[in-house]
């Protein structure tokens, strides 16, 4: 940006170039400003609709009330958020370990992949809500139940992406490793794993969101209540009590958590790939 400005100060630009510089500057501002403005307008409209139609607070609370609840019930809500976060991150960590581990196993032999990949697909396409009653019967520990759910939902994108990455290595590079007498482990460590990195990180971004969904859904169907329960339980509870402001507050916390997870994983991905991968290159140029 500064380079362009300095240039436009020193160099005489033709109308087309000047227009392009102006358009680029507008786009940069608009990218942040537009969503913000729309968001503010939407919240204002929400508030107005509540007032104009005299909607009672147990059906649709005004935004101000939601924020007040977020503040007043902070201890309760953030305690629950921590519980949900714990399940989400443990689930994600297990999904990474399981997904990458299985992918590496698959990469060792086509036969292993052919034999076991269908099971992974079955596990993925069967809705978690439908499997949960079974998990409920077989697993006693509440945390273990929730973790298992989050794991089942989140591990597949990591597994399938990492498998794809491990297998999409330049044939010539594999030949080069063979020529230099590389062992299977050297090939995995120095060639296949780094080559799979962009694919894995793509899977991780999806899995981060899914793991949160898995944690929340699991808690919903598990129907746990009490002091140590997560945000989903707060939502169910608030629903029973017609405490709409708290319901909205919990909902906002979940959305916000999802956004933060996505942003963090995007940042991780960018930092890991920025030096070499096409996806992380700046678009200017």
């Amino acid at each position: 940006m500064t380079a362009i400005e300095r240039q436009s100060g020193a160099v005489v630009l033709d109308p087309e170039e000047a227009r392009r510089v102006r358009a680029a500057r507008l786009e940069r501002i608009g990218k942040w400003l537009l969503p913000l403005v729309i968001m503010i307008v939407a919240i204002w409209l929400w508030d107005r609709i509540c007032v104009w139609n005299e909607i009672p607070r147990y059906i649709l609370p005004r935004p101000g009330e939601v924020i007040a609840t977020l503040y007043n019930d902070a201890a309760l809500l953030f305690g629950s958020l921590l519980v949900t976060l714990r399940i989400t991150f443990l689930g994600l960590a297990l999904a990474v370990a399981g997904g990458v581990g299985l992918a590496v196993l698959f990469a060792q032999s086509k036969w292993v992949e052919m034999s076991f990949f269908p099971f992974a697909v079955i596990l993925q396409v069967t809705p978690i809500v439908a499997i949960f009653p079974l998990i409920n019967i077989y697993v006693d520990n509440q945390t273990a139940k929730l973790l298992l759910c989050a794991w089942i939902v989140a591990f597949f994108p990591i597994l399938s992406n990492t498998t794809l990455g491990l297998n999409s290595v330049d044939r010539n590079l594999i030949d080069l490793f063979k020529l230099n007498g590389a062992t299977k482990w050297q090939q995995l460590w120095h060639l296949r794993l780094p080559a799979a990195m962009p694919y894995f990180l793509g899977g991780l971004k999806i899995a981060g969101g899914l793991s949160l969904i898995g944690a929340v859904v699991a808690e919903f169907v598990a129907g746990s209540t009490g002091q140590s329960s997560g945000l989903a339980s707060r939502i169910i509870e608030a629903g029973y009590r017609l405490n709409a402001p708290r319901l909205f507050a919990a909902l906002i916390l979940i959305s916000f958590t999802g956004i933060v997870i996505f942003l963090v994983l995007s940042l991780v991905s960018h930092l890991a790939l920025r030096r070499w991968h096409e996806s992380a290159l700046r678009q200017e140029r």
Partner: protein
């Protein structure tokens, strides 16, 4: 200075060609390769690669020159015949390979890319550093050690690839149309730099190309191959002395040699499908 030039077709009498050595390094005896789909990529290839040769495999596409290179590298096993390694050369571990594409690790710096062959042989970064630095200097990339491949031009990437191929000090460097994708100016410069390296380090080169001009400029022996089935059609000895430079590239001798090689290549293409009276 007037170059003495002698070009000939047919079997080389051996050991009278430019700088090429006398001692055989590798002898291909009756090597043939038939793929599972029935295509005969190579048939009855007899070829002696002498220590110190700069040997070009020249031919139309489909003549099996890349297959021959892969067989020499041990990346592919011959259907018939055998490879006879002579002297103290020991197959795979004594070979450097340069592909048509630079084929670098995109996530690794120039330094780490050149390190790779040594790393796979168990050399730590510290132990390998002198050899890596020297090789990077030899290909004129000093100062770019920490650059990533995507920051380099095509010619520079190919230099890294050559440095990587030579960092283990191999006896035999195999090159599979390494400069085919480069622009002419870059290609000329890399040709000269490769010849410099070859003369200083005294390794043997087998260079696959479809460019008559490149093969004449670089090699002391040109093996012309024909297609369907892939086979050795003829051999041309290029007796112009080394070092060869841009003066040689513009000399009448060079032009005459190119004409000669073009004619043989033309014969190899037109007679490609037919029966060829062997040597």
């Amino acid at each position: 200075m007037q170059h003495e030039v002698r070009a000939q077709t047919g079997e080389s009498p051996g050991g009278v060609t430019g700088r090429g050595g006398e001692k055989p390094l590798l002898i291909l005896r009756d090597v043939g390769k038939t793929f599972s789909n029935g295509v005969a990529a190579l048939r009855n290839v007899d070829l002696t690669i002498r220590d110190g040769d700069f040997l070009s495999l020249l031919g139309p596409s489909g003549c099996g020159k890349s297959t021959a290179l892969r067989i020499i590298a041990g990346l592919s096993t011959p259907t018939t015949g055998l490879l006879d390694w002579r002297g103290d050369a020991r197959g795979r571990s004594d070979i450097g390979f340069v592909f048509q594409e630079p084929t670098l690790l995109p996530w690794a710096s120039v330094f780490d890319n050149v390190w790779l062959p040594l790393r796979l042989r168990g050399f730590s970064r510290e132990k390998a550093t002198p050899a890596i630095r020297e090789m990077i200097e030899r290909v004129h990339l000093t100062g770019f050690e920490n650059a990533m491949p995507r920051e380099l031009s095509g010619g520079m990437k190919m230099r890294v690839s050559i440095a990587r191929g030579l960092v283990t000090k191999p006896r035999l460097l195999l090159m599979d149309e390494p400069f085919a994708a480069l622009d002419e100016i870059t290609r000329f410069r890399l040709n000269s730099d490769l010849l410099d390296l070859w003369q200083d380090e005294r390794f043997t080169v087998v260079f696959v190309t479809h460019s008559v001009f490149e093969s004449v400029f670089l090699s002391n022996r040109i093996v012309v191959m024909a297609a369907r089935p892939g086979r050795v059609f003829s051999e041309i000895a290029v007796d112009a002395p080394y070092p060869r430079d841009e003066v040689f590239r513009t000399s009448p001798d060079y032009a005459a040699l190119c004409r000669q090689a073009s004619r043989v290549l033309g014969d190899a293409i037109t007679q490609g499908g037919g029966v060829h009276d062997g040597h």
